[in-house]
């Protein structure tokens, strides 16, 4: 029976192929048979070798990752409106790919029994499905993507939108420079120099018959094989390799590799029997393929919409995956990834600022807190942030606060859209308690430092790892100076925060065995974050505060700085720096493997060597905790 929800389903489906070419009545009937399925992030839709489901799927909200668990390669991402899981419709076999919710998703399951008669009676529908299926992904040509291993390829399409995939049509130069076959070599070279190009097309009756490149001049003329007065016909490469206009980057790359050439000629029908319309050089491809971070940064900065930033974050994840696979140093990896993540955040703020009706009334600084502030956030985690703005006259304060709150809620919403979960404890600039003027922040921080209860210690431990994400550095510096001078005045605060740093549960038991969680969803898992990373992070914070070290929020950099300042403890500090990096790498790898934050680790799945590695870091944890406990005389307040 038709109902409101089935109408909504039909409204959605009608925008996407193959449903857009279906008869309206048929689509309505089909929509009534749909099952709506909610998938939590990371949960599988079907797994490799699983028996065929009675339906195929359309993504309504979210994104699904299709991957091949044997090749360990991601085949495709399916976004809103994409179809997947077509195998049971076309071949009566088990699934050959694994489908997993890349984000929290809502799917429409289309029952095959109902759909099959429709596709059989409509040639266009069945053609589309067969094509989608034959290419193994939703989009034909996508297979070539596997060629790019860890790299990513990005292109800008005509609208300036960035597309990760390299099956995008390539940009090529449409201004063709050509000459006839009887032109002298000297004249051809003059033409190339005049137009600053590396090749000239040789045409006869407006059809391409050959091409002369810099290489031909070098190999065939400069060597003395042909005089410069000879005609270009003698040295041109012929026949030319031609392709149709709509060539993709991947195809162009393949064609060049296959033929060992550096230029491709595009013609109207793709053969030498029609006129040339463009030329692609190897250099064009290099520009189109953005397999380095600077290209992504450029693309992020060009993004006009939050959605584009979201797309780019996917390529950041692919980059990260590649770096970890290549085993690049963790400090470098995290630096690059944090930089990219920062750029995303900056862009989200910039986009939000543009959407505000008026520019900000005063200067402000957007602070990243917690792991993001420390530059240790590699996988998506919660957003922790705060906003500080310049002091204003008292009567201006409510209006100013209101402005920044509005901005903040737009930014946090945008960040949520690109993959940062809302902070469950509401530690976000959109919270009125976390969006304050400089003076208000100072008051708040004084209060924390003077009255260090458990809440205050917790708040400051999160807040004091801030770094500037956007806006005015002066505001942040003033805040830092204020914190240090207040801590100097109330040294007892350090004892409390040191005590807080010792509260993390111990990583190992009496016999050096791992301590695992006792209950909850992660029962029998090892909590890497709480038991191993947190003690190191907390200890670094206390020590840095006691030394008034400004501007370093990253944990291992803090330890490196401490090693510099206290040569007698150098060895321990460097061990802590190393342990932090090792643990973070561990967490990131586990996270990528299990599609989560990597915080909880299944010990069974670790190799002996990995376990040893983990345990080695525990020694540093124990020692740094001892050092803090003695230095800040924590026992005095406990006793």
């Amino acid at each position: 029976m038709k109902n409101l929800i089935s109408e909504r389903v039909a409204d959605f489906l009608k925008n996407y192929p193959p449903f857009n070419i279906m008869d309206k009545k048929l689509l309505e009937d089909l929509s009534q048979q749909v099952t709506i399925i909610y998938k939590e992030k990371g949960s599988p839709v079907f797994s490799f070798g699983e028996e065929a489901h009675p339906s195929f799927y359309v993504v309504h909200k979210g994104a699904i990752e299709l991957n091949n668990p044997i090749l360990k390669s991601v085949t495709d991402y399916c976004d809103e409106g994409d179809i997947f899981g077509l195998r049971p419709l076309i071949a009566k076999e088990d699934y050959k790919l694994e489908a997993r919710a890349y984000e929290e998703s809502i799917l429409y399951a289309i029952p095959i029994a109902v759909f099959r008669p429709i596709s059989e009676s409509n040639q266009r529908v069945s053609n589309f499905l067969t094509e989608s299926f034959a290419s193994n992904t939703r989009n034909p040509y996508n297979q070539t993507r596997k060629l790019e291993r860890s790299g990513i390829s990005t292109t800008l399409n005509a609208q300036g939108n960035l597309v990760i995939d390299d099956f995008q049509p390539i940009r090529y130069s449409k201004k063709l420079v050509s000459c006839g076959p009887k032109t002298t070599i000297q004249k051809a070279a003059a033409i190339m120099t005049k137009h600053r190009i590396g090749s000239v097309l040789i045409c006869k009756n407006e059809l391409p018959i050959g091409i002369v490149t810099d290489k031909d001049l070098r190999n065939k003329v400069v060597t003395g094989d042909f005089p410069i007065t000879s005609s270009v016909r003698n040295i041109m490469s012929s026949p030319v390799i031609t392709y149709p206009e709509k060539i993709t980057i991947a195809q162009a790359q393949m064609a060049m590799m296959k033929n060992d050439i550096s230029h491709l000629i595009l013609t109207k029908d793709g053969t030498t029997n029609s006129g040339p319309v463009g030329i692609i050089s190897k250099n064009d491809i290099m520009v189109s393929l953005g397999d380095n971070p600077s290209v992504i940064v450029k693309a992020i900065k060009r993004a006009k919409k939050i959605k584009q930033v979201k797309e780019l974050r996917k390529s950041i994840m692919m980059l990260l995956n590649g770096y970890l696979e290549q085993n690049l140093p963790m400090a470098l990896t995290s630096k690059i990834i944090s930089e990219l993540n920062d750029t995303c955040i900056k862009q989200v703020i910039a986009i939000s600022l543009e959407r505000m009706k008026v520019p900000p009334p005063v200067n402000f600084a957007w602070l990243a807190l917690g792991s993001q502030g420390r530059g240790e956030q590699l996988l998506h985690t919660d957003q922790d942030n705060a906003l500080v703005f310049e002091d204003v006259a008292e009567d201006q304060l409510p209006a100013t606060t209101e402005y920044f709150l509005e901005l903040s809620s737009m930014v946090t919403k945008g960040l949520n859209k690109i993959g940062y979960e809302y902070c469950p404890a509401d530690m976000m600039a959109s919270n009125p308690k976390w969006c304050l003027s400089l003076q208000e922040w100072k008051n708040k921080i004084s209060y924390w430092i003077i009255n260090p209860g458990p809440n205050e210690v917790l708040m400051s431990s999160i807040f004091f790892d801030y770094s500037l994400a956007y806006g005015h550095p002066d505001l942040m510096n003033e805040l830092s100076d204020f914190i240090f001078s207040s801590v100097k005045k109330y040294p007892i605060f350090l004892v409390h925060i040191a005590n807080g740093a010792l509260q993390s549960p111990s990583p190992s038991g009496f016999f050096r065995s791992f301590l695992v969680e006792q209950d909850g969803q992660h029962k029998d898992f090892f909590d890497l974050k709480n038991r191993a990373l947190r003690p190191l992070i907390d200890a670094a914070r206390v020590l840095v505060l006691s030394h008034s070290i400004k501007g370093i929020s990253n944990t291992w950099e803090r330890y490196e700085k401490l090693a510099e300042l206290e040569p007698n403890n150098q060895e321990l500090y460097l061990a802590c720096s190393y342990a932090t990096k090792a643990l973070l790498k561990f967490k990131t790898k586990q996270g990528l493997l299990h599609h989560d934050s990597g915080r909880y680790i299944e010990l069974e799945s670790l190799t002996k060597e990995e376990k040893m590695k983990l345990k080695r870091t525990f020694k540093a944890i124990k020692e740094i905790q001892d050092l803090i406990s003695i230095r800040f005389k924590v026992s005095n307040i406990l006793g």
Partner: protein, 216 residues
């Protein structure tokens, strides 16, 4: 006594409904069926106002079957003009309306002994129970969960978080980024409530394994 006399008078559909409760519910959480419902009413007065429409859908193991939904519009005797702008339901408008007496058996047949989920469920349950009372029937026997209450359980305790007393369905849709396209239609609200309920469950699951006992 009177009770026995009265129960003898109950119509067959009520007896069938009651009989279902002799069966115990599945013990596996995934196997439980939830009936997510919403009622649109002429107002907020439980005795004087009436149900305009009931929308409900079934949810089992994170799945919603589109062809197994309930959407009923109820003929109004007393017509409250003020609530029309909210719901857009005009008395006896295009929608096929049925009388309250017809709607109740259909509703009971649909909800069976499943667990009812609604946003601020107390209100919807009250409206339905009053409708039952008008035709001489006792109250609903179903277990009932309130997404308004459940949502509060997902909030963590922190001194920065000051939970509101009430979270509207709009608040939930906002927090969980659910489209509010069909807000203020019974089935549309039921759908939003259903999706919100699933998202709440996935949040609660992080803390402890789901069981009906923990949710109540």
């Amino acid at each position: 006594m009177g009770i026995f006399n009265r129960s003898a008078k109950y119509p067959d559909y009520w007896k069938e409904y009651v009989a279902l409760f002799r069966q115990s519910l599945p013990t596996e959480f995934d196997q439980l069926t939830f009936v997510v419902l919403d009622t649109e009413t002429t107002g907020f007065d439980r005795t004087n106002d009436r149900i305009l429409s009931i929308g409900a859908l079934k949810l089992k193991g994170n799945r919603i079957q589109v062809d197994d939904m309930l959407e009923m519009y109820i003929t109004q005797e007393a017509f409250n003009k003020e609530s029309v702008p909210i719901h857009g339901i005009l008395r006896n408008s295009k929608q096929d309306c049925i009388s309250e007496e017809e709607a109740i058996p259909r509703f009971l047949k649909y909800v069976e002994n499943h667990i009812i989920v609604a946003h601020h469920a107390g209100f919807d349950m009250g409206m339905i129970n009053n409708a039952l009372k008008r035709i001489g029937l006792p109250k609903l026997k179903n277990i009932c969960l309130d997404t308004g209450v459940l949502f509060k359980k997902t909030l963590i305790k922190s001194y920065l978080v000051q939970p509101k007393d009430h979270y509207s369905l709009d608040d939930l849709a906002e927090k969980f980024s659910i489209s509010k396209k069909d807000r203020h239609t019974a089935l549309g609200d039921a759908y939003i409530t259903g999706i919100a309920f699933l998202k709440i469950l996935s949040k609660l699951k992080e803390k402890r394994a789901l069981s009906l006992k923990n949710l109540k």
